[in-house]
Amino acid sequence: MHHLSPSGRPALPSPSRRTLLRGMGGAAALGAGIPLLSACGGSGTAADPKTVTLGSNASDAVPKKAFAEIYAAFKKQSGITVDVNTKDHNTFQEQINSYLQGTPDDVFNWFAGYRMQFFAAKKLATPIDDVWQKIGGDFPDAMKALSKGEDGKYYFVPLYTYPWALFYRKSVFQQHGYTVPTTWDQLVALCRQMKKDGLVPVAFGDKDAWPALGTFDQINFRTNGYDFHVELMAGKASWTDAKVRKTFDHWAEILPYHQDGAVGRTWQDAAQTLVSKKAGMYLLGTFVAQQFTNQADADDLDFFAFPEIDPAHGQDTVEAPTDGFMLSKAPKSKASAVQLLEYLGTPEAEAIYLKADPSVVAASSKADTSSYTALQKKAYAMISGAKHLTQFMDRDSRPDFTSTVMQPALQKFVRDPKGIDGLLTSIERQKKTIFASG
């Protein structure tokens, strides 16, 4: 519940409704008890070869409509109806476990990376190598790697992706004569200058506990490189390693330039300080653009990659969470489901989605980028030029670890950066027991 992940990209500025739903959903789920939850999933109708059921987490208006258009186009082409079962985004995530064990829909929305591999390894998904034989040519290698389970088989069809970066207002940078920082020292200097100029240098809201994970990711892979970051996420490297300590030292250096009271603020509220030009920069995924409802403001929005910290690693890693589809363990109409997945992997399907939701970019390398906004073009260039792609801490590591250990630990750090040594020891101790289980 608590991991409203970065993929919780609400399309509308409606944190309150979402919080409320989440609260009620959580309370209801607790009351109903685990065994009953599985009964909620699936439509339970007899298999109709011309109908594919699809479990969707696209509960927000913009993505919901975009997906509906894809399914309509698919029906026109193939004659197969997609029966969509939409659930609140966060509820979907909370219940995914029991949902997949019960009677899930044939196809379901999910995220690339560890979270996909986890369910693949638990045999709760069907491998789709046959689908990839058809669509494989359309995707770059990084996307192929992201779509494979630990066993080397494909389990995932990516649809779109979006990078994390530092966002800013062009007009604000112009007005004060700032230049985009490319090194750590420049970033720190810029923060200092912004503070002097009466701006909040870095907007920050960590009430939902996941945004701080993103900040950690950026500083860590810039400081220690992609390989160490991956090892750390996989539970292999130690959190008490001096390298991790260095990451937190860097973070502590710029933390005073972050917005006050981050733990009490949602990312949407933090984004508003960037919208109102009170903040100079904001580290988030491109979905921050959804908060810029005024077209003039949206055109003023720009971003740059997190500056280099160690020249050995430069800016070679980009954090780019990827969303897409999986096939459940025993689909009722498998042939049609495979057909749907093949369609979802086509550039046409991507194009339909991107037209309706321009805050993300296509996962496919064949997708038509001519209608991209300037922001999308830049995001696309950033991802395709990356040497390594990461997903996000809660997608690259065990979700139980990130949600029960890392989220509270980083909130604690953000509030009180002094107790870092004790915090890291505590993280490492808890990590060992969690990674030792199952």
């Binding site: 519940m1 608590h2 991991h3 309150s16 919080t19 409320l20 609260g23 009620m24 959580g26 309370a27 789920a29 607790l30 008890g33 685990i34 995530q93 909370e94 219940q95 995914i96 476990n97 029991s98 064990q101 979270r115 986890f118 638990k122 709760l124 909040v200 960590d206 009430k207 506990a209 917005q259 006050d260 009271g261 981050a262 733990v263 009490g264 603020r265 509220d269 508003q272 300080t273 065990r398 979700p399 139980d400 949600s403 029960t404 509270p408 630990a409 909130q411 604690k412 509030r415 505590s426 101790r429 808890q430 027991t433 969690i434 289980s437 199952g438």
Partner: protein
């Protein structure tokens, strides 16, 4: 709720059913013949269905979670349950940085509820009991928060406490850098902030309980004390309050239960982040999710259960003893 069903069954079965169940032919040879086949089936279903539901939903799940507390399980298939003995508890007591704060906060929750909104509820009840004008209006106003779901209460209070756009900070101008009050994120503040919301609700609840208690105070007693020349405070202290003893017991138990089950308000408020950790929230965080730690979460639930039993069992013993004497 748990003891109700089991005690009622024998009573219901022993009572001779009225009306249609009267014996058709000869005089009955024993108790059993009093009931026709149909009656027995009806009674069996009436007693049986709730019993089965009760046993499966309350006892089986409770016992299962006790058993699971000694295992490690991700919730996927029964094959992945592994026995880990006391490991979960060891981890909980020594490694979990949120556990002891959570226990502490549950205790604070109880102490605050019993010290502030409870006396306040009593005060309101006493005032309303005087049949002042618009008494019904006040009664409704104070009771309203009890009617509204706590999830909604949490949502409303969030609008008050939001540090950037909330009511308080906007009024006092504490949403500017430099003198920023972070009601939700600051661990020294947020528990108290949420307790205000909890108290706001609890006072209304207590008021209704006390109002009911006050209605049962014999007017003759008040009259007598008035004749003896006691003033209002003396009457309350020496006459009314002592007669509220049974109500006080109920209030105590209700408040303990409220403190132990505190969940929804905090969950909506900030999901039990820094400063507002509660046992119930830790249970939820570990059990619900895409890859759950059901064993570990169950261990926390067992701790909560033990605490609850430690409080409730002495109460039940005392109550039953009293009933037997009576």
């Amino acid at each position: 709720m748990s003891s109700g069903t089991t005690t009622k069954i024998p009573q219901a079965a022993a009572e001779p059913p009225a009306g249609p169940a009267t014996p058709k032919k000869r005089a009955p040879q024993g108790h059993r013949r009093l009931l026709t086949r149909r009656d027995r089936i009806t009674l069996g279903l009436m007693a049986g269905v709730p019993t089965v539901l009760h046993v499966t939903l309350v006892w089986v799940t409770a016992l299962a979670s006790i058993a699971l507390a000694f295992t490690s399980w991700d919730g996927i298939g029964f094959g992945s349950i592994t026995w880990v003995g006391l490991d979960n508890f060891k981890q909980l007591f020594s490694d979990n940085p949120q556990f002891w704060p959570a226990v502490q906060h549950n205790v604070i929750w109880f102490v605050v509820l019993i010290l502030i909104p409870t006396p306040f509820g009593l005060f309101l009840a006493v005032q309303l009991d005087k049949r002042i004008r618009f008494s019904r209006v006040y009664q409704t106003a104070f009771f309203l928060p009890v009617v509204v779901s706590l999830a909604v209460t949490g949502f409303v209070w969030q609008l008050v406490y939001n540090p950037d756009t909330g009511l308080i900070n906007s009024l006092v101008g504490a949403n500017e850098p430099g003198h920023y009050i972070d009601w939700i994120g600051d661990p020294d503040l947020n528990l108290w902030a949420v307790l205000v919301a909890a108290s706001w609700r609890h006072a209304g609840y207590m008021m209704i309980l006390y109002l009911a208690g006050l209605k049962s105070v014999d007017p003759a007693l008040r009259e007598a004390s008035a004749l003896d020349g006691a003033n209002e405070w003396q009457t309350f202290r020496n006459v009314v309050f002592p007669t509220l003893r049974p109500t006080n017991t109920v209030v105590l138990v209700v408040t303990i239960i409220e403190a132990l089950r505190a969940f929804d308000l905090v969950f909506v408020f900030n999901k039990g982040a820094q400063g507002t950790e509660l046992l119930s929230i830790l249970v939820t965080n570990n059990i619900i999710g895409e890859s759950s730690r059901i064993g570990y979460g169950s261990a926390i639930a067992v701790v909560l259960l033990v605490i609850s039993l430690a409080v409730i069992v002495p109460y039940l013993i005392a109550t039953f003893r009293k009933e037997r004497r009576a």
